[in-house]
């Protein structure tokens, strides 16, 4: 005797449809258009069933076949689009298709709940693509709506407002428990079984293009600093606001902008256009560095994932980073032992004054290489200046002067170069940005017999005055040159500063077009500009905190936070302990919250019930459907000794309850308290 499950009410189905469309909406941005159309079309079919009574698949054999066929076509399309591998995008696409067709054939309560559960799943998949505060707000709204859908299937008679109110109350009361679990639930470092490829490749907050790379790489995966540099083949440098890393300095003292060189990979080999790092087989021993320990800077870097092994450090770190497994290579760059696939945090200390391989540099040969038969004009210039300034330092200064005095311009959108890029830059276009200057300066050095290499990384960053966090973005990417001098080692020389010193002194922000910095409407008035600046900094501070403490909350962060909260040895056992205690407290609080109103009965009724109890103990039968007067007469008959009391109490009760004389309530309660029918009886 299997009872058929009841069908969900139409209102509930309509609500669920609206909610699911809202949940799927953000996915439409990255799902193929045909899939969004199928989703909406299937929803539309169901909607027309609700509004106009269109038949559903279950009503007609032909329609059932159409439904099945459509579902198969959709799945085949998904497979043909993404291939057979289970990946993130394919998974989301499949889930969306599944959800649409499930809703279309939703017949009973079980189907309905399944649709709801799939809806929750779809909400979760949004975090693969976006992790902003906005998307969490949207998640809250979605959960609220989906919960009200679940309520509507249980309580169809309630109004929309009542349902939303109930689910809002549920959501609000669930928040403390959610926060407790979020903070204290022992986090397990993932992955458990491996991660879909496309999830790793597309970093969420980074664009797939790069400042310094020769080609704007639209292909997936290549983000952040690439390990090669190509000069002159791009005309417009992509200015990305994406965050590369954040830095918090110890004691919140931020060093001046001109020493904020964030060192990345070092490039040696060049074919005239492209610059590349050393081949891996030529890696020699440890460098020899001495530091002037007076100016030591301690800081913490939170690096966004860039899917390479570089760690960026302030030039030059005097120790290995803490919190991540890394080593320093012979060029003074830090290399992580693993590819940075997730946001990573590490502590570092750097000293800006250092001597690098001052006595001996084993790779000097590589630092003098120039491609044969190239840059004839540059070589000629170098020769000419070198003979004029025999002293190396004089020569370097002369080249810098050359950049400063000749009409060189710093621009983020230089003209395209053709032929010998270095020569045509130095003698024809003379418009360029950091990598043009770094590359041509290095060529000029090498042509004059001075060992030189190109370093790429970032320079500067934005300081937020609210939380004192320095944010380094992709647009802060930079390239500079290091030259090797006897007894001094490698010395940083930034030719860009000779052309555009403001780039180094105040960062790249000042060089951006003004509309990139703030809305045009604000640019006219200094007060508005100031206000805009403040708002922006606050917003960024909130965003920083969000990224670091919510989105970036992982096992390491958890331990750090718990230590800060005063837990001495946070491990999963103590976490479980505190979690249990916290959950128990919330349980009690909720129980109190939901059940507390029980005793809220008015005292008159309480007293009257007490009166009835006393009478019934003396043998008077009490019937709740009997009026007070009838009861009084009955009781007076059975207990003639107490008749006067009974009459008095009843008349007071009648006065309070039926004659609207509430002032007699106190007297009535008092009388009941002293009423003892049994003592009269004896």
């Amino acid at each position: 005797m299997k009872a058929s499950r009841p069908a969900p009410p139409k209102v509930a189905i309509n609500w669920l449809m609206a909610t699911l469309v809202l949940i799927a909406l953000p996915h439409f941005l990255h799902l193929p258009a045909w899939l969004s159309i199928i989703f909406l079309a299937v929803m539309g079919w169901r909607l027309m069933n609700s509004l106009r009574g269109w038949p559903l698949p279950e009503h007609h054999l032909l329609l059932r076949a159409v439904h099945l066929l459509l579902a198969i076509i959709a799945v085949v399309l998904v497979i043909s689009q993404y291939g057979m591998t289970i990946a993130r995008d394919a998974g989301v696409a499949l889930l969306t298709v599944l959800l649409a067709f499930k809703l279309l054939e939703t017949r009973d309560i079980r189907d309905y709940y399944l649709s709801c559960f799939l809806g929750f799943f779809l909400i979760a998949t949004q975090f693969f693509f976006q992790q902003s505060m906005l998307i969490v707000l949207l998640m809250m709204v979605n959960v609220l709506l989906l919960t009200s859908c679940m309520i509507s299937v249980n309580d169809a008679s309630s109004s929309i407002r009542q349902r939303l109110k109930t689910s809002g109350v549920l959501l609000l009361q669930a928040t403390p428990m959610m926060l407790l679990l979020f903070v204290l639930f022992p986090r397990v470092p993932g992955p458990l079984w491996g991660v879909a490829n496309d999830y790793v490749e597309v970093a969420d907050s980074m664009p797939s293009r790069m400042t310094l790379s020769g080609l704007p790489s639209l292909s997936q995966g290549q983000t952040g600093i690439s390990e090669a540099m190509q000069v002159g083949r791009i005309s417009d440098q992509v200015q990305s606001d994406a965050i590369a890393f954040r830095v918090r300095f110890a004691d919140n003292t931020i060093p001046p902008n001109q020493i904020l060189y964030w060192r990345g990979p070092v490039l040696w080999h060049t074919d005239g256009e492209q610059w590349q790092p050393l081949a891996t087989d030529t890696q020699p021993s440890q460098p020899e560095i001495s530091f002037d320990e007076q100016h030591r800077i301690d800081y913490t870097v939170t690096l966004e994932r860039h899917n390479q092994q570089w760690l960026f450090a302030l030039d030059l770190p005097d120790s290995l980073p803490q919190g991540i497994n890394a080593a320093m290579n012979s060029e003074g760059s830090l290399i992580s032992s693993e590819v940075i696939r997730k946001r990573s945090q590490f502590n570092l200390s750097s000293v800006p004054d250092y001597q690098f391989n001052a006595r001996h540099e084993p790779l000097l040969n590589y630092a003098l290489e120039l491609p044969d038969d190239q840059h004839p004009q540059a070589r000629q210039l170098a020769q000419q200046l070198r003979t004029q300034y025999p002293e190396k330092t004089d020569y370097v200064q002369a080249v810098l002067n050359y950049f400063a005095e000749q009409p060189f311009y710093y621009t983020l959108s230089p003209p395209l170069l053709s032929g010998d890029v270095i020569d045509s830059f130095l003698f024809e276009s003379r418009h360029g940005f950091c990598e043009h200057y770094a590359a041509s300066f290095t060529v000029l050095m090498r042509a004059a017999g001075i060992p030189a290499r190109v370093v790429i990384g970032y320079q500067g960053g934005d300081v937020n005055s609210v939380d004192q966090i320095l944010t380094v973005r992709q647009r802060d990417a930079h390239a500079w040159t290091e030259i090797w001098l006897d007894e001094q080692g490698w010395i940083r020389v930034d030719p860009t500063s000779a052309v555009a010193s403001e780039r180094i002194l105040s960062g790249i922000r000042g060089l951006l077009p003004s509309e990139r910095r703030m809305p045009r409407a604000f640019a006219d008035s200094p007060e508005l500009e100031n206000l805009w600046q403040q708002l922006r900094e606050h917003w960024e501070a909130v965003n920083n905190a969000w990224e670091l403490w919510v989105v970036g909350y992982d096992p390491t962060r958890q331990l750090e936070l718990l230590r800060k909260l005063g837990m001495k040895q946070p491990d999963w056992r103590s976490m479980a302990q505190w979690l249990t205690i916290g959950m128990l407290l919330i349980f009690i609080a909720l129980a109190w919250l939901t059940l507390r109103h029980k005793t809220q009965r008015d005292s008159v009724a309480e007293a009257y019930l007490d009166f009835c109890r006393r009478l019934s103990k003396s043998g008077v039968s009490i019937n709740p459907a009997e009026g007070p007067m009838t009861l009084a007469q009955k009781a007076a008959q059975q207990l003639p000794e107490a008749a006067a009391d009974i009459q008095a109490i009843t008349s007071d009760y009648l006065a309070v309850r039926y004659q609207q004389q509430p002032d007699k309530a106190a007297r009535f309660i008092e009388k009941v308290r002293h009423f003892k029918p049994r003592s009269h009886a004896r």
């Binding site: 019930l609 459907a625 009997e626 007070p628 009648l654 039926y658 004659q659 609207q660």
Partner: protein, 304 residues
């Protein structure tokens, strides 16, 4: 004045209608609550006598109409007759232009005639040839009908039963009362010696007072619970209407007034409940006309 005169009225009525104080009190409270009364009982138990006695005691002008199947609305309301001497139509008022109308065997009349009367009861006026004529104030209808369904009768439809505030039965007198009745004077003869205990204005005052009696929230809650029971319990085809609820409160007020109180008790509601609701409710399960009324009163708790 009021309490004394009410006592006098009751005494006089009980003197005529022997052994039926409950029915007499209900009938009086129905009139005090400005409601129309339906008496359903077998012939010969004193329906007409009760109506007569009420009219005389309250000093109301009285008309009796015997309803039959071929009666027309004009037989009640009146007709326009052409006056040859003055060459105009003059309206001859029907029996409805009185203060207390006894509609005998109302279920014998055709539905058309019934509804003409019931409409007049509801609106307190009649419309003849487009001209509205108000009825007297106060205006009561006491209708009687026989309980057994017979061929040639038109039972009042539900909607029209609703127009009667109360339906009561008189029932056979008990042995002592019957003994007195048989031994005593002819009731019709006694009726002629009744004196009116109340002037019309005093009656209107009394009705006003009934209306102003206190019905506390607590009491209204109880009435609501009763109404809810008829709506939710599933035992009735349809629950009581808000009009029935209003009638219940009004009747209870009149009952309390007769008892000399200026506030209403649940007991008052319980006393009038059977007469007020029984004719408005239809059981879903008709095979069993068990004592659902007393059961309802036993089940619905009184708010404390």
């Amino acid at each position: 004045m009021a309490q004394g005169s009410i006592h006098a009225i009751l005494d006089q009525l009980n003197h005529i209608i022997l052994g039926k104080p409950q029915a007499v009190k209900l009938a009086l409270s129905c009139l005090l609550a400005r409601g129309h009364l339906l008496i359903e009982d077998v012939p010969g138990v004193g329906k007409t006598t009760l109506a007569h006695a009420l009219a005389s005691t309250l000093g109301l002008s009285f008309q009796r109409v015997q309803f039959t199947s071929d009666m027309l609305p004009a037989d009640i309301i009146g007709v326009s007759v052409y006056d040859r001497e003055q060459s105009v139509f003059s309206f001859h008022r029907g029996p409805i232009f009185c203060q207390l109308l006894l509609a005998d065997e109302i279920n014998r009349a055709s539905p058309r005639t019934q509804s003409a009367l019931l409409e007049a009861m509801e609106e307190q006026q009649v419309t003849v040839e487009g001209e509205a004529m108000p009825l007297k104030d106060p205006f009561f209808v006491i209708a009687t009908q026989n309980p057994t369904h017979q061929i040639g009768t038109f039972p009042l439809p539900e909607s029209q039963l609703d127009r009667f505030l109360m339906r009561i039965a008189i029932g056979y007198p008990d042995a002592q009362a019957e003994h007195d009745l048989l031994k005593g004077e002819d009731r019709r003869h006694l009726l002629q010696h009744l004196s009116s205990q109340l002037s019309v204005s005093e009656l209107l005052n009394l009705q006003q007072r009934v209306n102003q009696l206190t019905a506390s929230d607590q009491l209204i809650h109880y009435v609501q619970a009763l109404l809810n029971y008829t709506r939710e319990s599933g035992r009735f085809v349809s629950g009581l209407s808000p009009r029935a609820g209003l009638g219940l409160v009004r009747a209870a007020k009149a009952w309390a007034c007769i008892d000399g109180r200026d506030f209403v008790l649940p007991e008052d509601v319980q006393s009038v409940l059977p007469s007020v609701v029984e004719h408005r409710l239809q059981l879903t399960d008709n095979s069993l006309q068990a004592d659902w009324l007393s059961e309802m009163l036993q089940t619905v708790p009184i708010p404390r």
